[in-house]
Symmetry: C2
Subunit: 367 residues, 2 copies
């Protein structure tokens, strides 16, 4: 078994991220520090048949139970969080219990939020089983649920006690979801690590072929970049916002296309390319980098266009609803070189409109 | 106008508590540091006709709106929190907005929880209009809603930006609620300040007559004690638990009698006396103090008995569901002298049963 471990530097809330092949079958190294007497594993109908028994075995000897929820973003709601709270109260879980999120980003965000608010906060552990969750949503403590008027509008910052990313779980991941995860991996190179971007250009085929050593390198590098940023700015008052590169455009795409029609990573891929296009129009990002990004995303099988139904006007409306509105002004993350990004509150409207109007539109074949 | 101000010492989350007569009509001193462009005042149908216009005037010139909820503990639910979130999203409140809780503990807990989870946390301000809220629930950052299986089971720690306790609002307070607030005031003397307990014995009549100078002294002393304790232990991992003196018994009384039949302060009054009785049986609290406490509570018009319907067995069941269960063991706050309390995980069951069985039962006349 190959494995690596890094720490998210958050003072008395610091926690380890364990990454490697076979971690679920060999829990000794990561499970010991979790001393909670009661454990509830929260997972979904897709993941449960694959990994739930490994998970409960990992906590053998404790009072461990599981709750299997329906799969999908449509269930990331207050109502589903309410089902978790009902279960916890009906089974008398005490304040020293731990919730274990076994699944992708939806399960992680939902379970983390349930843990954040149960008795004003109990422990939780992230066991991400998708590439996207391993490199993004399971690290950093953002938890929450969707509201009919916006994604992640109800939520909390609540750091996990540990994250366990077992690359073996990626063998069962549908190809479309692997590609969606790669969008976020590419984002890390783009905003923070030029060398990693070049490495991705060189090793994309190995990642698409799911070679464990390439996956572990990509996950470890992504998590290291995210951990550094989160450690510097837990509550997103500054540098953490850079992690949202492409997300304002991406949220508009997700909402405009209808939740779940585009995967989050797919929308972020198109959104990053729009941000790069805008940065180029602003004269601070070379056209050649935009082209290299487009090529890399396309090789990864990710969309390099926006939905046909989303014209510039609708984009503006949907972006206005985004959380990045501050005092009536849209703040956007833009590129200022390969491996460097910045938050700007003064993007010229004419350039933004040019990007929104001229960015290619296309038909998403969903995979 | 007489007023005082003290600070809750919580590092970068420190905040002021303004106390005095006429503060709502003269907002200059406390309103200025709140720079939020959008303000939502959350209140209820009882408080709105009395103080809402003063409140919106205090924020004249901002984008200020109000949401008037039904009154009562029965509405301190996730459903009502959902109504606040719906309003915020429908009216496009951004992350830099502030929620202002104008009312008693229910409005404060609910609004604070809505603020804690809206876009993962926005500012909020406490304007408590009951004595109980002024001395207890508005200070310390505990927010939350009830679940059918337990009080405050869903919640968050979220500190307000400031607290404004205007004693003029107490002139409209029903006598029963004034008395319920005095229960918590007496608690502070009991757990932390022997001199204050004696002062209360000497000045209770002035408090019952709502003399402003006596009220301001009682509120300021109570808030100072609570602020010191919260400053030392925000997340209740230690000394903060002492604030729960009488609350484990009290929650059992509230739940056993049905939410809202006993006021929280009434249940805490009876609960404190039960804790004192238990402490006396444990040999660490003089019978004369138990008697003085009973006399003081009775003079304040507070119940010094438990509900008739609640026998010892039912008490044990209801206390077992309380959050103070830790690893299967009931932790209780007991007295160890006048002005001193402690958390104990080793209370002899036989003594607890004696208190539960022998404590007087009575018919609560509801004020």
């Amino acid at each position: 078994m190959k494995s690596r471990c890094l720490t998210v530097p958050l003072g008395d809330q610091a926690y380890p991220i364990h990454m490697g092949s076979g971690l679920l079958s060999d829990p000794e190294g990561w499970q010991k520090p979790l001393i909670n007497p009661q454990i509830l594993v929260v997972t979904n109908t897709i993941v449960a048949p694959l990994y739930l028994s490994k998970m409960t075995n990992a906590f053998a000897g404790r009072d461990v139970a599981s709750l299997i929820l329906p799969d999908g973003e449509a269930h990331k709601t207050l109502t589903t969080a309410g089902q978790i709270w009902d279960f916890l109260l009906e089974h008398r879980y005490a304040r020293d219990c731990a919730l274990v999120a076994l699944g992708g980003g939806v399960i992680g965000d939902l379970t983390g939020f349930a843990a954040a608010c149960y008795q004003r906060g109990v422990d939780f552990v992230q066991i991400p089983t998708t590439l996207l969750a391993q490199v993004d949503s399971s690290v950093g403590g953002k938890t929450g649920v969707n509201h009919r008027l916006g994604k992640n509008m109800i939520g909390a910052f609540h750091q996990p006690r540990c994250v366990v990313a077992d690359t073996d779980t990626l063998t069962s991941l549908p190809a479309r979801e692997l590609r969606a995860g790669l969008a976020e991996v590419i984002k890390y190179g783009l905003i923070a690590d030029r060398e990693f971007f070049v490495w991705l250009e060189d090793h994309l085929d190995e990642l698409l072929a799911r070679q464990p050593s390439a996956l572990i390198h990509a996950i470890a590098t992504s998590c290291r970049i995210k951990a550094d940023i989160v450690g510097a700015d837990e509550r997103e008052t500054g540098v953490r916002a850079l992690l949202n590169l492409g997300h304002t455009f991406g949220h508009a795409i997700e909402t405009g296309a209808g939740y779940g029609v585009w995967l989050h990573g797919e929308a972020v891929a198109a959104g990053m390319l729009m941000a790069a296009d805008l940065s180029c129009r602003m004269g601070q990002f070379d056209q050649q980098y935009v082209d290299r990004l487009r090529k890399l995303l396309a090789r990864a099988g990710l969309p390099v266009f926006a939905p046909k139904a989303l014209d510039a006007q609708r984009f503006v409306e949907l972006m206005g609803m985004d959380k990045k509105v501050k005092a009536g002004r849209l703040r956007l993350i833009v590129m200022r070189g390969l491996g460097a990004a910045e938050v700007r509150g003064d993007v010229p409207e004419s350039l933004l409109h040019a990007t929104l109007a001229e960015f290619p539109r296309g038909e998403h074949n969903h995979g």
